[in-house]
């Protein structure tokens, strides 16, 4: 309890029966629902625009029809967006799947060691790793391009896998460390008594109980790698890069702005992460919470 709260409870006035203002209470309640629904609509406005515009043909181009439903519903935009973006969506999967799995695995190893093995400076090591999560990547970009070039790694998919693995390590380490600190000591000590070494303990005891954390970490890494634009724009082109670059090219590259096609494209590009969010929302929120350092 905080000092102020203690002060508040220190000099107790005689207990008062809870005052009931039935009328005011229900007015407040109604107001709350009005507010909630108002914000619901505001948040969904862009979704309405995306959907409606993606089905509009050239006949609806006049600004006066901007917010109206399409006069003729057409799927042309969707077809065009799909043919433009499909290869990029394939490449994004090729980047995101391996990089999420590898960085989750590394994070689990680190998290285990850092939560169980107290050596002098373990906290400093952890903080140094964690700092990597917050750095603006602009501060490493120039030498990074030179390093990748010198290592001979082709731009596009291979480079982006490497970068998402490396710069994913801090957050995955954080989530796993927080999780392993909640695992009862006895469980791991039991393994020690059997004479199992650290690696054996990790394989046979820790890894099997890590599934929930793996789900959280994989979702987090999947979403952030799928949505990445910064690394993608520095290390790939719309020919060999992920869907964010291809979409940006589709939306801004053409001389003639065709909002119908780019909106359909934006929906395609967002679909995988949205599906993950809808199906696995609980774990998604779990990842968000872990992202706040204290977990």
């Amino acid at each position: 309890m905080t000092a102020e709260a203690e002060q508040l409870t220190a000099h107790r006035p005689p207990p008062v029966a809870p005052r009931v203002h039935k009328g005011r209470y229900s007015l407040a309640r109604t107001l709350k629902y009005v507010g909630l629904i108002f914000f619901l609509i505001v948040v969904l406005i862009p979704v309405y625009v995306l959907l409606v515009t993606s089905f509009k043909g050239t006949g609806d181009a006049d600004p006066s029809r901007a917010w109206a439903l399409p006069q003729i519903w057409t799927t042309e935009n969707w077809a065009m967006a799909w043919t433009t973006l499909a290869p990029a969506i394939g490449r994004t999967l090729a980047i995101v799947v391996p990089s999420s799995i590898i960085s989750a695995f590394l994070g689990s190893l680190n998290g285990f060691v850092l939560s169980r093995w107290s050596f002098r400076g373990a906290d400093i090591v952890f903080t140094l790793i964690l700092f990597g999560m917050f750095i603006p990547y602009q501060a490493v970009m120039i030498p990074l391009t030179q390093l990748v070039l010198n290592l001979g790694i082709p731009t596009g998919v291979p480079t982006l896998i490497l970068l998402h693995v490396v710069y994913g390590i801090p957050i995955t380490t954080l989530i796993f460390r927080n999780y392993y600190s909640t695992v009862p000591h006895e469980l791991i000590e039991a393994g020690r008594v059997d004479g199992a070494g650290m690696l054996r303990t990790y394989w046979s005891i820790v890894l099997p109980i890590s599934i929930p954390s793996f789900v959280v970490v994989l979702i987090w890494q999947f979403t952030s790698a799928w949505n990445d634009f910064l690394f993608a724009v520095f290390f790939s082109s719309s020919q060999n890069g992920p869907v964010t670059v291809a979409l940006n090219n589709l939306a801004n590259g053409a001389l003639l702005q065709n909002y119908g096609v780019s909106m359909a494209g934006a929906l395609f590009a967002s679909l995988p992460t949205l599906i993950v969010y809808i199906i696995l929302g609980k774990y998604f929120v779990g990842g968000l919470m872990s992202g706040s350092v204290k977990g």
Partner: protein
Amino acid sequence: MLNKLRRVGPPLLMLAPSLILVGVFVYGLIAANFTTSLTDNHTAAQATGQKPAVFVWFTNYLDLLASEDFQHSLMNLVLYTVVFLAGTMVMGFLWAWMLEKPVKGEGIFRSVYLFPMAVSFVASGVVWRWLLNSNQDEQASGLNRLFQIVGLDALQNNWWNNVTFGIVAIAIPAIWQLSGYVMALFLAGFRGIPEELREAARIDGASEWKMYRYVLFPQLSPVALSALIIIGHMSLKAFDLIMSISKPANYQTKVPAVDMYVFKSSFDYANAAAVGSILLIIVAIVIVPYLVRTNREEKR
């Protein structure tokens, strides 16, 4: 000696891949970047190593900070950060506050408020570019047209095309995307407050306001700090939304991260590196004390 090796060996082996990767890709590259920022590496010939670059110490930093162009970027960054932070904190707290007590359909409200977080800035940029169209009156589409429809014509404006405040328009989609996140943090905070605390205050006859002021707010302040730090450091790295809404060449909405991209594209590696280092310093000023503090609290 052998004993010590057996004790320290396996854990060290398990950490080694990550330590090497983070060591090289974070700290090694930060050092390399800083070195580049101290040279006169301004041309393609130097960038590719055909011509040597010479050390000029802090000249690039001084030139950047003195240039009106870069000052405009910094000013934009400050404006963007202030609006983005204020917007997400107010909206996030308001939503969490409305959803904190049992509400019918809570799950739906929460899911809808949070969903923009799952979408990339590039994809949301596509629709916000349309919404923030600067055309007005007859030609208006996007939000300006919506304002006409609901009879708020006076609210029409030219959004990100305003030289001084254009960047504020870019903060609107950012607020749209991250308020749900702040809400989720505050909701977790609210739920973490023991019911007894509220009970005690209620029995003591504390008014609703006093309850918030003396019981709930102090309990929520660590959450608020986390939210401020996370949103703040995201804001300092603002890049994707600007690239997708107003394009990098746009003077109105440029920020240091965009400058860095433009310098890099024109093979001015020294200035690109200097901008990167400046961003790092700004972020570190915010983040390092936070990490140290968190670390110290955990030890207690």
